[in-house]
């Protein structure tokens, strides 16, 4: 048998050192959960869980304060719902175009452009939403007094929604394109041989075959939208409001955290603890969506790769 002359302790030390690096990521998750749990438990010692989970009035600054988290969960869902209404069709259409219609040359320029645009900082998108999308697009196009009218409002959920749509369209397009391109060529060729048109191949064969990857990209986009802070902070306003009306000013969960936890907030105060309680809800929501997305991606990888 061939064997090393010495024990090679250095080799083993390196292995453990590298394992430690990988373990650091697990420690990060643990640290997130630990730092959320402590103050959250403290929060529920003061505020009853029933009031928190089922109340719709989020007024921490009032006397007495009210901590009904649905007031800001609704704000988040309002923005996410309307953003997905635009982002999903646009993102999926772009993905189908990229993977099925675009010539290799168009594809080679378009896909990098999309990927570069994922890097636009969200503070820039938020500022764009409030200075351009709101006054130049929503106000002129909004039909009159529908749902209370859009004119004259400095902030609204819809401005943030469109900003977020701008942010996640490249994500949906790029990931769905990857999923559709992972579908074997044979499926295309079989469908064409049976006389299907390009539109039919795309919508009836490739799209369903790549569905799990496409759904994963959409779920990931929703998770991003739920966790997005700067766009909602700048464009959606800061008035907790349990409504799905897109032209109302609302406050999202992330915006509450960002406005409350800045500066020297007193460490043991109820406001401080409420930040962690809201953070825990946000973390739980995105965790569920991320796990769904990861499982779906694994499934399509198993089938085609």
């Amino acid at each position: 048998m061939l064997q090393a002359q010495n024990k090679r302790y250095g080799e083993r030390a390196i292995k453990w050192l590298l394992a430690l690096c990988a373990l650091l990521s697990v420690l990060t998750t643990t640290a997130i959960i630990v730092s959320l749990i402590g103050p959250t438990v403290g929060f529920f010692e003061i505020v009853p869980a029933g009031e928190f989970f089922f109340g719709v009035d989020w007024t921490p600054q009032f006397e007495p304060p009210s901590f009904g988290v649905l007031g800001i969960v609704a704000g988040t869902l309002n923005v996410v719902l309307w953003s997905m209404l635009f982002a999903i069709p646009l993102g999926l259409a772009t993905a189908v175009y990229l993977s099925e219609y675009a010539s290799p040359r168009v594809r080679k320029t378009l896909k990098p452009i999309l990927e570069v645009l994922v890097g636009v900082p969200t503070v820039a998108i938020g500022f764009f939403a409030v200075t351009f999308i709101l006054p130049e697009i929503i106000v002129p196009l909004w039909p009159g007094e529908l749902l209370g009218g859009a004119a004259g409002k400095p902030f609204m959920a819809l401005a943030a929604s469109l900003g977020i749509a701008l942010m996640v369209v490249p994500i949906i397009a790029s990931l769905s394109d990857d999923a559709m391109r992972a579908v074997p060529r044979g499926l295309h060729e079989g469908a064409y041989a049976l006389g299907a048109t390009k539109a039919k191949v795309a919508t009836r064969v490739i799209f369903p075959a790549a569905l799990s990857g496409i759904v994963a990209s959409v779920v990931l986009a929703i998770s991003r939208a739920v966790g997005e802070t700067m766009i909602v902070l700048i464009a959606a306003g800061s008035t907790p409001n349990a409504t799905f009306n897109p032209v109302e000013s609302i406050q999202a969960m992330t915006a509450y955290i960002a406005t409350t936890a800045t500066g020297d907030i007193a460490s043991g105060s109820l406001d401080y603890k409420s930040v962690f309680a809201v953070g825990a809800v946000l973390f739980a929501m995105t965790l569920i969506m991320n796990v769904i997305s990861i499982r779906l991606v694994r499934r399509y990888r198993e089938v085609y790769e």
């Binding site: 994922v118 960002a258 973390f283």
Partner: protein, 314 residues
């Protein structure tokens, strides 16, 4: 004499033209509805692509038209000022951002590459703890940035590490935020190195670490560099977590990594200007956005060029 040359050529060409005409005639029998629907569908797809691109083009154009008037040396040389908005600039924010990303790179490159090497070269995939690490990293990559801000506030600024509101704490927070991105990109780059390279090296008597250091890592460097650049540009553009770990003050001096007087960063300063109603500050915000977009888009373009240039060399 080839089969298609000489006297046969005209006859062959005639046959090909005939076959083509026949095929085209047969295909024209496709239901007219299908043809129309196909065209409409393609048109809609193209429209969607154009809308998405137009939105992003509008963002760029608006920043350039509204912010270019104050572009100049003052913008990068002067500190922010509430009293003299026409002389205000981004100096402390730019210095702060540079220090922040320097810290991010110092932390993320060794740890990220190390974790990726462990997962690709050493880890036994059938063990549950290695699957746990893998899923955990994928999840961390999608945890909202503001949650990292909470982690930074409760764990790094206060709590166990207790660093206080200093620039290094902000840097560490951003580093943890982008670490999963680096690990995922580095893993893909390492996985793309063919096994034959490893086997060849091992067969020549190199140890596993020698193989990794002299064969696998050099081959994976372009992919790793791409991942690191994309991660750094993400860290550079992040605002939300920094708001929670102290980068909120209107800093008028050059920040230092461990100074306790506060620090600022480019996106935080832009946010600071953007929420002020006066026109001068809004113009400054647009100018800051131009600076950031130029830097970030250049970095991302370079990263993607690097990846496309060096991909699939095997």
């Amino acid at each position: 004499m080839t089969a298609f040359g000489g006297a046969e050529a005209p006859r062959n060409r005639l046959a090909v033209a005939g076959a083509r005409a026949t095929t085209a005639a047969m295909l024209r029998d496709q239901p007219r509805g299908d043809v129309v629907r196909n065209a409409i569908f393609a048109g809609l797809l193209l429209l969607a692509v154009l809308i998405a691109l137009a939105g992003l083009l509008a963002l760029l154009l608006q920043a350039f038209t509204k912010g270019s008037s104050v572009l100049g040396p003052d913008l990068v040389n002067n500190p922010p000022s509430t009293a003299f908005p026409d002389k205000a600039g981004y100096r402390p924010a730019i210095i702060g951002s540079l220090q922040l990303i320097a810290g991010v790179i110092l932390f993320v490159v060794p740890v990220g590459v190390g974790a990726a090497l462990y997962l690709e070269e050493y880890a036994d995939k059938s063990r549950w703890w290695n699957t746990l690490i893998e899923v955990n990293i994928q999840n961390l990559a999608a945890v909202p940035s503001i949650i990292y801000g909470i982690l930074g506030l409760a764990f790094i600024v206060r709590g166990p590490l207790d660093l206080g509101f200093i620039l290094a704490a902000g840097s560490l927070t951003l580093a943890l935020l982008v670490l999963p991105m680096v690990i995922i990109a580095a893993r893909e780059a390492i996985r793309a190195v063919p096994d034959s390279i490893r086997q060849g090296s091992l067969a020549l008597g190199a140890t596993q670490w020698q193989t990794i250091r002299r064969q696998v890592l050099p081959a994976a460097i372009p992919g790793i560099a791409t991942g690191v650049i994309l991660a750094v540009s993400r860290a550079l553009g992040e605002t939300a977590p920094l708001l929670l770990v102290g980068a909120t003050v209107f800093v008028t001096f050059d920040p230092t990594p461990f100074g306790t007087d506060g620090y600022s960063a480019m996106p935080v300063q832009i946010f600071n200007y953007a929420v002020r109603p006066q026109e001068e500050f809004q113009t400054l915000a647009f100018a800051g956005i131009i600076v950031m977009l130029v830097v970030l888009l250049a970095m991302n373009s370079f990263a993607i060029w690097l990846r496309n240039r060096y991909e699939q060399r095997w």
